[in-house]
């Protein structure tokens, strides 16, 4: 709760985030430089992006060299199983977005809910189905009534 946050020099793990952000800042600076910059009398489309991309790079460099609060360093190290579960969920959501239109909301969402409940959270099949089926059907009914045209996909007839 009110524990003191001790500081220590940042290690490789803590610096990784700053390195990625620095790389992103430099890439954004390179891309922004292609836009028309104008001048200080009449700044053009590239003026602001160049300035903020440069600022991002400088701040990321400062973050890389700065000390890291110890509790955050600890937070970066968690068990591998948790990370694997998160990766599975993220990939499932990616596939969901890709297949939503052709396959449809009902099928895709039901499969996703079952994966989350049964596959990742280890809820029993019975409870997973009892929770997922009405939730998916109800949300489809409710949101299509509210004017959100959720794709019917393979169930369109």
């Amino acid at each position: 709760m009110d524990q003191e946050v001790k500081r220590k020099p940042a290690g490789v793990r803590e610096r990784a985030g700053a390195v990625l952000l620095l790389a992103f800042g430099l890439y954004a600076l390179f891309e922004a430089a292609k836009l028309p910059f104008g001048g200080v009398r009449a700044p053009d489309a590239g003026f602001f992006p160049v300035c903020v991309a440069a600022a991002l790079s400088v701040f990321a460099l400062m973050a890389m060299l700065a000390e890291a609060p110890r509790d955050e360093a600890g937070a970066a190290a968690r068990d591998g199983n948790g990370a694997a579960r998160v990766s599975i969920a993220a990939v499932a959501l990616l596939l969901y977005a890709l297949f939503l239109k052709p396959v449809g909301f009902l099928v895709c969402t039901l499969l996703l809910m079952l994966l989350l409940l049964r596959g990742i959270c280890k809820v029993s099949w019975r409870a997973s189905l009892l929770a997922a089926l009405p939730a998916v059907a109800l949300s489809y009914f409710l949101f299509t009534r509210l004017g959100v045209p959720l794709p019917a996909g393979v169930l369109a007839f």
Partner: protein, 502 residues
């Protein structure tokens, strides 16, 4: 007289049956999310932003505001009974609130927390009523340089007060500004960072972005580490046990009033908000107490002060948004997003162009605070039961709401992809200790900052002197500069022998 008329106008809006209903839904949802550890008010407001499309704008803001201050009430329940702060702003309440509960005084702790919250919320609103109109009138004279300076000082304060590490917070703010430039240039309509994608031409949508950063990122955290809570102290069943006695009131009324004042003042500052105000209020009470040794062992002042402060801060947090159009914290940024979804720009013109909306929102908070007081005390037992909802079902529910919400923005799966992208980013950012608040605030303020700086330079024919020759802009930029140079200056000073000797 003007104030009375304005309040009457406001109450004529906020007491309409539909607005009363939305206010009730807001405070109820707010209390529930305040009770639930992890799922914060920012995530809930983010998830509900798409729902507000179909609502009248005033009702939408009334509901979202209700979630915000309702969560402050709810956060105290789990802090006191479970030693689990539902909201970051309730962390300080855990210390003495839980100690009181262990000593069989859970009812009094919950009662003083609810009464203190109500008094502070009302105090904050009175301050808002008297401070907002003159500030809005003052802001009418603001030109592009002043707005640029205001956005600079706002982002600097957010980075200094809200983040755990200043360079990291500044990095996130710069990233937010950069993300805000994606899409068509606001002046010449040139495409920037769109890579030929039509989906990116209108820029990154706020709704999928915040749903990802707060909703989905939270789901990923829940998947990684199962959040489990257990009831340590029993919820009181007798309503009378919630009523503080005369001695309790005598001990805590000063703390409530001081907490209210501190919360009000700190809440106006960008980046500080409810969490910082509760820390400051607790520290002040401890310092000025004749018995500081009681703090941490069930001092009622240790509950009254932070709970009052965080509620007063939620009210005063609306001042910069409603009068200047500048959000003071991430929740205000989301509420600014809700305004923008309805084509309304909050700021000095809101008071003159839409007074019924301005005063309707303010008076709705009076009504909502009263609802919370009536709602919270008898339903404490029920709210404690909410915390026992299995996290697996919460995960499924949040994912379902996020998917439908993100898709509903443009009826396009691309927005789900964006939400996923920001969800992964938010999850990793939290893991590596990067605060998301500066990113969202900068993203929302970015377009205003860009237009202001470009217009200022065009007006001054390229002279940067325009930012320092105008007094308001000069003062604001001076504050930002002082904040920016202070950490490096301290670091340089540390190498000096005289500084070391201190």
């Amino acid at each position: 007289m003007d104030t009375v008329n304005n309040l009457l106008l406001g109450f004529s809006v906020s007491l309409q049956p539909m607005n009363l209903l939305y206010s009730f839904v807001g405070v109820l949802l707010g209390t529930v999310v305040g009770v639930l550890p992890g799922l914060g008010s920012a995530a809930t407001i983010a998830l509900l932003l798409p729902v507000t499309y179909a609502m009248p704008p005033t009702s939408a803001i009334i509901m979202l505001a209700g979630i915000w201050y309702g969560s402050m009430y709810g956060g105290s329940t789990t802090s006191i009974l479970l030693r689990v702060p539902g909201e970051a702003a309730s962390v300080m309440t855990c210390i003495d609130g839980f100690e009181m509960a262990k000593r069989g005084r859970a009812g009094v702790a919950l009662g003083i927390s609810a009464f203190g919250s109500f008094i502070a919320g009302t105090f904050g609103l009175v301050g808002l009523i008297y401070l907002a109109p003159p500030l809005a009138e003052f802001a009418l004279d603001f030109g592009p340089p002043e707005y640029f300076a205001l956005t600079v000082v706002g982002l600097t304060l957010v980075s200094f007060l809200g983040g755990r590490s200043v360079p990291r917070a500044l990095t996130m703010a710069a990233l937010g500004l950069l993300l805000g430039t994606v899409g068509l240039d606001p002046v010449r309509s040139a495409a920037r960072f769109t890579y030929g994608s039509l989906n990116l031409q209108s820029g990154i949508e706020l709704v999928p972005m915040v749903m990802g950063l707060f909703g989905l990122a939270h789901v990923f955290q829940m998947i990684e580490e199962k959040l489990a809570v257990e009831e340590i102290a029993r919820a009181p069943t007798n309503l009378l046990s919630l009523l503080p006695n005369r001695q309790d009131w005598r001990d805590s009324i000063g703390s409530i009033l001081r907490g209210s004042l501190i919360g009000f003042l700190v809440g106006i500052l960008p980046g500080a908000g409810a969490t910082v105000s509760s820390y400051v209020a607790y520290a002040v009470e401890r310092r000025r107490s004749k018995h500081p040794e009681k703090f941490g062992h069930g001092a009622i002042e240790g509950v009254a002060a932070p709970e009052s402060a965080n509620n007063a801060a939620t009210s005063s947090g609306f001042i910069p948004l409603l009068t200047l159009g500048i959000p003071a914290n991430v929740v205000m940024a989301l509420i600014l997003g809700a305004f923008m979804l309805h084509g309304i720009t909050p700021g000095p013109m809101l008071l003159t162009q839409k007074p019924e909306m301005f005063w309707g929102i303010i008076t709705s908070m009076f009504v909502g605070n009263l609802m919370l007081l009536v709602l919270n005390l008898p339903l404490i037992g029920l709210f404690v039961k909410v915390t026992r909802l299995p996290s697996s079902f919460m995960i499924a529910l949040i994912v379902l709401a996020s998917l439908v919400g993100a898709y509903g923005v443009n009826n396009n799966p691309f927005d789900i992809l964006m939400m996923l992208l920001f969800g992964v980013f938010g999850y990793l950012a939290e893991k590596f200790g990067y605060s998301l608040a500066p990113l969202v605030l900068a993203f929302v303020l970015g377009p205003l900052m860009e237009i202001s700086v470009r217009q200022s330079l065009i007006i001054s024919q390229g002279s940067f002197g325009i930012f320092v020759t105008r007094p308001i802009s000069a003062v604001l930029l001076g504050i930002a500069a002082l904040l920016l140079v202070s950490p490096p200056a301290r670091r340089v000073l540390q190498f000096l022998p005289a500084y070391k000797a201190r």
